[in-house]
Symmetry: D3
Subunit: 307 residues, 6 copies
């Protein structure tokens, strides 16, 4: 359960408003790697976590902190938008090039939709969406995604920080940058502990590794003229089994030309007949297909055959 | 520039069709972490890369390989859809529960839209979109995103592999799993080389690190009852400066309650007047705001003052 | 069925073009609360309406009027875009700050995609989508959504009206504002009639009200320091049963800590084993689960037990 | 700032798992009117609120409670998914029609992507997006949107509650239904107080009401055969000024046929020349347009003329 | 302006309900090539059309007819959904495989969200969005897009028609198929007339054709082993100038390897320094760039030099 | 399978950077009709093609070329963004109106997200999505969509070409325009060959043409005052059967008023009872519906009756 306190986690006071900067600032609130993303990603990962105790608590502690970061950014945005041009301004703009730039570059939805408040969108106005986040239940892969998100988020915060001289904004961003520095390490230490405590075999996701194609797990495929074979990824050894990598020219490993089966005639797919007549996709065709599948499975079950 | 060869990179032949499995299989083609994602992510990163030679070549080599993976998956999908129920089938379904399940669970767009071919969507029918990918120009953060994407992608491939006994499907997935094992390492070796060759100070993104809030870069904030303080992320040392982390209860670091400035009166924002009358957001208000900004900046420039 | 007449419902003639204003104007055409939204929302509600006569007719009458409003706005937009900068303009911009602002602030798709015509998007270029609308079949909840949409739509129209001095634009917006004033009342009178005529018990959606948690229907949960308990929502009485509301501090009403069950081992979810081994999610596990469900249901049916 | 407590707000324990129901249950978590929507809508409204004290606190109190509701729903979902079919199941399905239905109807991403955990999507797999929410800064319109959202949300919760007999699920939904009953009233009392305390003139959004088209604010436009004129919305009086409404046949109020101006010749818009040659949209045309605008504005400013 | 009549354009009565078919039927209502798409595409094209008279009228006539088609489809959908499973059904499903399939395959939002009415989405639940439509102002390209949309729309209608034996559904689809046959021809005759009446030079969009790369307008680029050179597109003549096409192997036409310029140092883009130090992207760098541009332009203007 | 070569297909060197133009240029890379669209559309069509030999090869040849076009555009974009304003610039802007315009009009994600590289979005920042593309398996309809896409793409390229005087940009666009000229013809010749070689009966999609409504395939429906009846589409003959078209006033062809059936009582749809009590949508109602359907089908099968 969650509780709210009136104070922000950290001060969010710009020295002065700046509507043009506010438009850009939306990126670290509602963008692909903005604070809404890490907030929702960590909350979903925490709620879905099956290791109660320090892992679940850690994920939810940081997820909870991120709600407060989203709050701080929205307050900063509303303050940056104070007095932003929202009404007829043409005459003034004619005399003031900076105002003209603001008119052109400000986010019109800051005036029209949110009335001078933050928007749940990125710097181009795209609404935040849950296609940005992942909670797979597998802490190794999720922590790696989290470390990546913190890195990207920190980079974009840095770039935005360089777009202003406002001491108030920079003071808050100095806090945010520091948290991103810390959080990157937090997720990487998390991966280290998962391995040390036996929750993962190694730092490499390798489920079903017993039957993966061992050969293909050691080759770098390269194109003509490429110098990529000079890197450790091609000259080093696999951290999984210590065997050396090698480089091969990218080439087909099969003579399969991807010729497709005959189509369902009632779907009017253009077809030259070279694979024989299409199986009808109606009850008969479907039943035939399924019967085949089931028969094969039953036979497999009897003979104990499996991949 | 790109060239095409008729042969696939690897065989993509299922033993037999399976429309229900095909619906799920779409996830690793057009999902958040499907092959379309890594293909487009690596291509954009490669094209945007500013380190010609082994780095740019490596990114483009793997991006090019991923086009071939997308091709393989589409062929596999079309073959899995052979004879899939596409027409009236109620009577047959009444007599065949597996067919009934297929009717319910198959992707209707496989019959209606693509005529038995692959769709550029995930297993729930969401069209692939570029909000899944990132190409920041910073190879450290991008390689970390790539390693994360390969891990998630491999995990989902593994889960799907466990949903079928088809030897043909499994043979291709054994190849894909192996490539994901290899590629995870490739990106991690890439990060190691970036540091060794001086393209990054450490494995932590830390631009503008000179003025980040040093204090906040070492604290784990925790909630009541949380056991998260037991982890290395709270008991270890910063890999940046070797200083120890510490744990603190999550609490406001400010008395700022996020009270917002007076709104523009012509935006009809509900307001109690407690911050005085709002600055009009018209030409006058806007100009005043900008003038303030410019004056301050000019003064700063003169006095050499900066953050 | 629908018919078209060449005349617009109302004049849509600006005094003069204004490309920058046109970019903002898109918000009330293709935005979350633009005219496309109310048009599609009312049409779907009307088509889905199960009360023929004055309710279905009223919804379709206004839905039909909204098609005409969308038409008016598109005409206004094309006229606002007359002579908008669409070609090389750098030299002129260097000499004209307002032109520079227009260059920066105009919607590039007005020039590139629609050739000076309206776009089906909002002021930030987001394409209109059907996730904005609702047609639930329940007229009480739908009329409430409609009143809300008219209020938001009117507010945004007002804000945009304040961004121009153009008498032609304002004349049309005076008409639109009036319609929104009228339509807000129309939907509220509609709710009043639904109750009077017995289509709804009260103005509150309360299906399954007989078994809802009566206690929880009267409590305002509040956080430390919050003054929210001073409002009528906390000090008044329920309009459903006349019982007084009361305020309580937000606290857990359970000791359930959200510990999740053991995961399917073949999905590689990180897990500490504390809930015992996971049920396999394959045929066996699934069948077991379903058997349990069915057995319980059958038993329930026999003993006549239900919630 | 936000804090977390390990206990849920309310118990979230189903009697038994049910993967098919879980797929539908996603609607009230991540759908258009799911709990993620009200959580994010209230948080953004609260953070943007300019009336500190009971209003801001009330919005944030309920926004905070909604985070806990999202948490409860995710826990319920993971528990409903226990043992859900995630691996090869064809043979079992052949013998068990309910299992077959589950195979067809379950959400494949529950198995493939989230590993048996909740997804931030609706019942059709659409990722939650911020285009669902509104925070306009105007409390009257926002409270109306909130009351509408609670009504729709409660209706959908009711419909879902009727899809299961599980006592555990129903116990939690009884709590959720009750909160939605309460919250609908909370927002309506909020509107009442806004008017009583002078934050809004009436319950109707009517900014710029002084110059809206008074005539058009009192007319119901109707189509041939429509019986909509029988409703209070056509026979009653305006709550704004007490004047009676009236009904008129829908007809053009202008002879404007929407003929568009000549296009920019360099945009290759098909055009018959009937409006004369198009103004070039290059520097010259653009400058001319702007000059006209500015000249008019300056003249207006001198003569004191405005709409 | 638009008017409504109570009667549908064509009967929309199924013989009997069919919830599973209804789920698929959504594709031709709210899919990429559903009736909502052609309705909105033609309306926007008509409103934006600059050739009053037969062209504008024709586009709006058909756009108006499409509103009526959307209406018909929504009515058909609600009738197909009569009595669809919306409540607890497990026991019945256990005894009835077809019911089980329906449970799995029906659209859950038909029960939860729209209460048995049509949804503005496709067969996979994706909300309709305006990214599907185009209104470019150029009638040649728009008519070609319209003919394509009618063809795709007809094909998908045909595929869906083959999924049912319901005579009522088929009767309506026989009407829809016929309209799509007619409309395909309508747009193609439209293109013919545009050329005959001089609105387009030929049926090929060829603006700026005077300076396009004449060479590249006649070559088919082919890959090793490809037999594509056997087609008329490679062996025929250009319809623009009558010159023959020819086939060439796909190869780089440049030695440009896409090496990028030095990045802005404050954006922390990984860079090897090989292009010299990056121009700062701040005021100084930006001003320098712009100055260069303007100076060059002015010089060009003086010397009369242009491409 | 695909291979990469370091050289671009064609030179992509602007004379000088231009950040404002780069923002617009994104439209032809990641817009609805940008190069990403044709690349992905042709690749999916080629992979799904069931006519091996010249058709499949041709589609894949051009799809492969389009990957190279996307590559060229990304390189051009990164070069246009050299030295683009990415840091604090207010003072400089105050003195330089063109810089001010650039500040306002540049794409903030070019600085914040991609670090001066191309973005996979359109000119308004919308991420590319697969809802733009189609691969239906039917080559006639797909080639028509392709010709349409090339036409729109060429038109937008032309419009963008007119927005710059840069000789380097124009040289590359001259190549792209030419390819679009050629490709339009390629797809039209493709349609011609499909008919000549018997893959399509005529250039009109007419599957299930034997039972379409022959009457409705020859009528143009028109509204009052419309002059659309003057066009060939109304005065000409059907290319399918040579019969003349005719014009009729748009009118209902039925007296069906779209009255819907009684709703499921447990879905709380507002209803006046005029259609009798609703069938419960639970097991009983659902089973009844299904039983009816199956019984009818079986009877149909016996009597040999079908549409």
């Amino acid at each position: 359960m969650y509780r709210h306190t009136r104070e922000l986690q950290f001060t969010a006071k710009p020295e002065k408003p700046d509507a043009l900067f506010a438009a850009k600032f939306q990126e670290i609130l509602g963008g692909q790697f903005g604070e809404m993303t890490v907030m929702m990603q960590y909350l979903f990962q925490g709620w879905n976590c099956r290791v109660p105790g320090k892992y679940k608590d850690m994920i939810l502690d940081i997820g909870t902190e991120e709600i407060s970061h989203v709050e701080m950014l929205t307050v900063m945005l509303a303050r940056l938008l104070e007095g932003a041009p929202g009404e007829t301004t043409e005459k003034a703009a004619a005399a003031n090039p900076v105002l003209a730039a603001v008119l052109g570059g400000q986010n019109p939805q800051h005036a029209i939709v949110s009335g001078g408040g933050a928007r749940p969108t990125d710097s181009q106005g795209n609404p935040w969406n849950a296609g940005y986040i992942i909670a797979s239940g597998n802490l190794l892969t999720d922590f790696r995604s989290n470390a990546a998100a913190e890195g990207q988020s920190r980079l974009m915060t840095s770039r935005i920080a360089n777009m202003t001289d406002d001491r108030g904004v920079k003071e808050m961003l100095a806090f945010n940058l520091a948290r991103d520095t810390y959080h990157q390490q937090q997720w990487m230490y998390g991966i280290q502990m998962l391995v040390e405590e036996g929750f993962a075999e190694s730092e490499i996701e390798r489920s079903n590794g017993d039957w993966e194609d061992a050969e293909a797990a050691h080759v770098f495929y390269t194109n003509e003229g490429s110098r990529a074979g000079e890197g450790l990824w091609a000259t080093g050894n696999s951290v999984v089994d210590g065997q050396p990598f090698r480089t091969e020219p990218l080439r087909p490993l099969t003579d399969d030309q991807g010729i497709l089966p005959a189509p369902d005639p009632l779907q009017y797919v253009t077809y030259d007949g070279s694979q024989g007549p299409g199986k009808p996709g109606n009850a008969v065709g479907g039943a035939v297909q399924q019967a085949e599948n089931v028969v094969t499975k039953v036979k497999d079950a009897i003979t104990g055959d499996k991949h």
